[in-house]
């Protein structure tokens, strides 16, 4: 087990290194990072010179990468061109805000997807199963941004204007003047969390349904039933336990990828998290923020993939013995 984890860890480090090269190359290809600053009035030659030195822009590209990587690993992420605050602080705050949204959405999605998936599988071809299937199609086909805008439209036009209910908000994290009020915060979180949940629940519930169905058709489940073990117990002890293994893995992989999804959600709802930070940085060509953001996002995603690998190995000992990557194990 230890060897397995160490091996995976080494691979993860290599993947992160490769990915940072891709990130750096992409961001560098955008051209001179100081282009906008050079045209900004009130920026002196000395400042520009210092910036060039600070971000190693006077060096060759490969040298720039190595220097940047060194700075990044040591936590020296530079200062935002836009807000002139340390990039580390900005990313830190944004991460916390995003974590609030994604964490909530994750817990709710997992719970809901498990319930829907298991019930659909146990009562295959029932009305519930068909309703769940229809919902999944809806979730797969609905663009996040359109769903977000529709929810805003509904809240403004129906709740606020028609019914005069003002507990759910469509913008920001707090109403001005009510910072720190938990009820107000929750009111602001409802819509973004719903949007984040839509695709996850649609995908994960289908996934859980299929892996549950597969387990329900295995020999050992039939044997358990034949021995006279009560149906509920078979479902809970024999079927669900085994069907959970692939589910946990998929959730861990997707949790990292949710980072891409928050860009849309935070933009539409003006939620001050990582997604909005990225959007603003790219719009204003905020070089240090873009670089740090991309690197952090990549580390997050690789970490969650690593977590998925390890979880799978812990839950399913067969993986450790035969050793194939979890993705090569066919689920269907």
């Amino acid at each position: 087990m230890i060897t397995f984890i160490v091996r995976r860890l080494v691979t993860a480090v290599v993947v992160v290194l490769l990915a940072t090269i891709v990130v750096f190359a992409l961001v560098s290809a955008r051209g001179d990072p100081l282009r906008e600053l050079r045209h900004r009035p009130g920026v002196s030659q000395t400042t520009l010179h210092n910036l060039e030195r600070e971000y190693h822009l006077d060096e060759s590209r490969p040298r720039q990468y190595v220097d940047w990587l060194g700075d990044f690993v040591q936590g020296d992420w530079g200062t935002s061109f836009r807000t002139e605050r340390p990039v580390g602080d900005m990313v830190g705050e944004a991460t916390w805000n995003t974590f609030l949204l994604v964490g909530t959405a994750l817990v709710l999605s997992v719970t809901l997807a498990l319930i829907i998936g298991v019930v659909s599988a146990v009562r295959q071809h029932s009305a519930f199963d068909y309703a769940a299937t229809s919902f999944s199609y809806f979730g797969f086909s609905m663009p996040d941004f359109f769903f977000a805008l529709l929810l805003q439209l509904f809240v403004i036009v129906v709740l606020q204007e028609q019914l005069d209910i003002h507990v759910i908000y469509v913008q920001g994290k707090y109403t001005v003047g009510q910072e720190g009020d938990v009820a107000n915060l929750i009111g602001h979180m409802v819509l973004p969390v719903l949007v984040l949940m839509l695709t996850s629940v649609a995908a994960w519930s289908r996934y859980q349904r299929d892996s549950m169905l597969e387990v329900l058709h295995t020999d050992y489940v039939r044997t358990a039933r034949a021995k006279g073990v009560p149906r509920r117990q078979v479902i809970r002890r024999h079927a669900l336990r085994n069907a959970l293994i692939p589910f946990v893995t998929v959730v861990a992989i997707d949790a990292g990828v949710l980072l891409g999804g928050v860009v849309v959600v935070e933009r539409v709802f003006s939620w001050p998290g990582l997604g909005l930070l990225f959007f603003d940085a790219l719009e204003r060509s905020d070089y240090p923020v873009i670089l740090a953001w991309m690197a952090v996002a990549t580390v997050f995603v690789v970490l969650f993939n690593l977590l998925a690998d390890i979880l799978y190995a812990v839950l399913d000992p067969r993986i450790r013995v035969s050793g194939p990557s979890r993705r090569r194990v066919r689920t269907a």
Binding site: S141, P143, L149, I156, R206, V263, R267
Partner: protein, 323 residues
């Protein structure tokens, strides 16, 4: 049943939920066309898939033929104020008094063309990588699949957004390429969406290369290239087609999302995504500017997913019995 998702995070799900490999005994003798007739017969009986197909035909006709009869998409009817749906403007007009229906139809031309282009191109890339990895196995397989893993792990949307913001690149003799234009977006999306196809083809190739007819071909002296192109690939056309269909749905969602955020197709060229960008913060002012383009995207993706599902059942009927 469709388990694939269209949004960018769908790539990871796609990895875990790939549509499966060709079952060993589903291999047919190539050439007589019987398997296509059977597949078509099964597809015809899939009600949702036929409905989806019908809607797609309608959508394509509306966007590419109907648009010719609509107003010029950038014509500003300066004398008319912004208005909701009416007999003159079925989908209403926007803040510059442009006809929304016409902009949706012309936006559809861009979004649909990009999606089809991405499906074709990413399928080609995925098939080549998957077939090489599956057929030669060994270190090549390990290398290619690790690469695919890395590719599937990258958060797609931010990477695409940064890539598009590079702007115009000079390709030497090929001329300039605007990464934010329809062609540029098509190429970028194709570079990101080949992962799931590569996986499917690899899996199928791994299984097929052990079959007797491959041995037979090798015994009569067929080269590796011939075995791959004439014996292996024709037998995994089913999964490839299913996957390509699902990439269409994915590509529509990613392109519209990018354009919506302002990192994709740039106005005044309409795309289904950028038609909604002005709705952020003003969605309650002019609901028709949000609802109609949004519905066009949603219904089209839904139709593509239905068709993909029908194709999956048509090519692998036992899957339907099992699930």
């Amino acid at each position: 049943m469709s388990m694939r998702v269209g949004d960018e995070s769908g790539r990871a799900r796609a990895a875990a939920l790939d549509p499966g490999v060709v079952p060993a005994d589903a291999v047919v003798t190539p050439g007589d066309g019987a398997e296509w007739r059977t597949a078509w017969r099964r597809f015809r009986h899939h009600r949702a898939a036929m409905l989806g197909l019908g809607f797609l035909v309608f959508m394509v006709l509306a966007c590419f033929v109907g648009a010719k009869f609509a107003q010029e998409p950038n014509l500003q009817n300066l004398l008319e104020p912004t208005s909701g749906p009416s007999t003159a403007h079925w989908f209403g007009t926007d803040e510059l008094s442009r006809d929304t229906l016409s902009r949706v139809l012309h936006g559809g031309q861009i979004s649909l063309t990009v999606a089809l282009g991405v499906a074709l191109l990413s399928t080609v890339i995925g098939v080549v990588i998957g077939a090489l990895a599956g057929f030669y196995r060994g270190w090549l397989d390990g290398l290619l699949m690790r690469f695919t893993d890395l590719w599937l792990a990258l958060p797609a949307l931010p990477f695409l957004a940064v890539a598009v913001s590079i702007g115009t690149v000079d390709l030497g003799p090929l001329g300039d390429l605007d990464l934010g234009g329809p062609l540029g977006i098509t190429l970028l999306l194709s570079c990101l969406l080949w992962g799931s196809i590569a996986r499917v083809v690899r899996g199928a190739t791994l299984a097929l290369r052990e079959r007797e007819f491959v041995d037979a071909a090798r015994a009569v002296g067929a080269s590796n290239t011939r075995i791959i192109t004439r014996h292996v690939l024709p037998n995994c056309l089913g999964p490839i087609i299913v996957n390509a269909t699902l990439v269409v749905a994915e590509a529509i969602l990613v392109e519209t999302t990018l354009s919506f955020l302002g990192f994709g197709i740039q106005p005044p060229t309409p795309s289904w995504g950028n038609l909604l960008s002005d709705s952020i913060g003003t969605v309650d002012d002019w609901w028709w500017l949000t609802v109609f383009p949004g519905l066009a995207i949603f219904l089209t993706v839904l139709a593509v997913n239905f068709v993909g599902d029908g194709l999956r059942d048509a090519f692998d009927p036992r899957r339907r019995l099992r699930a």
